[in-house]
Symmetry: C2
């Protein structure tokens, strides 16, 4: 009845391609108003005179999009216990309205901890859009063993 992948089932080197999400300016502003209300995320006027010349999304918004695509494409098939750590989040290009983004998740390492009944799974997530990498990060997640 439990057809989820467990820690022993995960194969280092596997690359998962994620689905797509179209980012709207409305979504950028709504996210930032709630979680990151800096002028260059919420105020189009202020953003025009800023470093990017237009409204850019919060880095956490990019993280949220990557996470949702990762849950839909990967984590909902795994017996996840919880996330433990997110390392080295590089924000390499801004999220902007109208961009269609997608991404990949690669399994980098699986460290079985049989005495805890779980494995620590290290993955690299990458969000891309408009031909550029927007964000890369390393995720450490506990996944149950069988």
């Amino acid at each position: 009845v439990d057809d989820l992948a467990h820690a022993e089932d995960l194969v280092v080197g596997t690359l998962h391609r994620l689905g797509e999400h179209e980012v709207s300016t409305e979504e950028i502003v709504a996210f930032a108003r709630q979680w990151d209300p800096q002028p260059f995320h919420v105020d189009a006027e202020a953003a025009r005179s800023g470093a990017f010349g237009e409204l850019i999304g919060s880095g956490l918004h990019s993280m949220g999009i990557l996470q949702r695509l990762t849950v839909e494409g990967v984590l909902r098939h795994w017996a996840v216990v919880a996330g433990r750590r997110i390392g080295d989040i590089e924000l390499t290009a801004p999220l902007t309205g109208g961009l269609v983004v997608t991404g990949t998740v690669e399994v980098l390492r699986v460290e079985l901890q049989p005495e805890r009944g779980r494995g620590l799974v290290v993955t690299r997530g990458r969000l891309v859009g408009g031909g550029r990498t927007l964000l890369e990060a390393r995720f450490e997640t506990y996944v149950r063993m069988r």
Copy 2:
């Protein structure tokens, strides 16, 4: 007219105490439905049989709360250009409904880049609640020079 703190004004070692936020179960579920729809974040029934025995918030939700408190308490007084990198987000305790959280931001390093007219400012953010640290992370942010 511009009374914001610029990179030269920031003092290494300064510790900023942030405001408070009360987390509700409704907020946990609403955030997770949109950005991290894993069962232990959105389904109270599934969460009861999970590792934590109750609904826990997404790690990104904890990040969002820390970021909003940081913007309100610190970043809105700084001439921020953009975030560059977030290093090593440690999720050390779960976000749960009813918790009142607060935090600190400490200035760890200021690296002036006069040729770019900006400084790279490294801070450590910490979110605490219920007597525990929920999350720590290192932020690298570009701040304009005068």
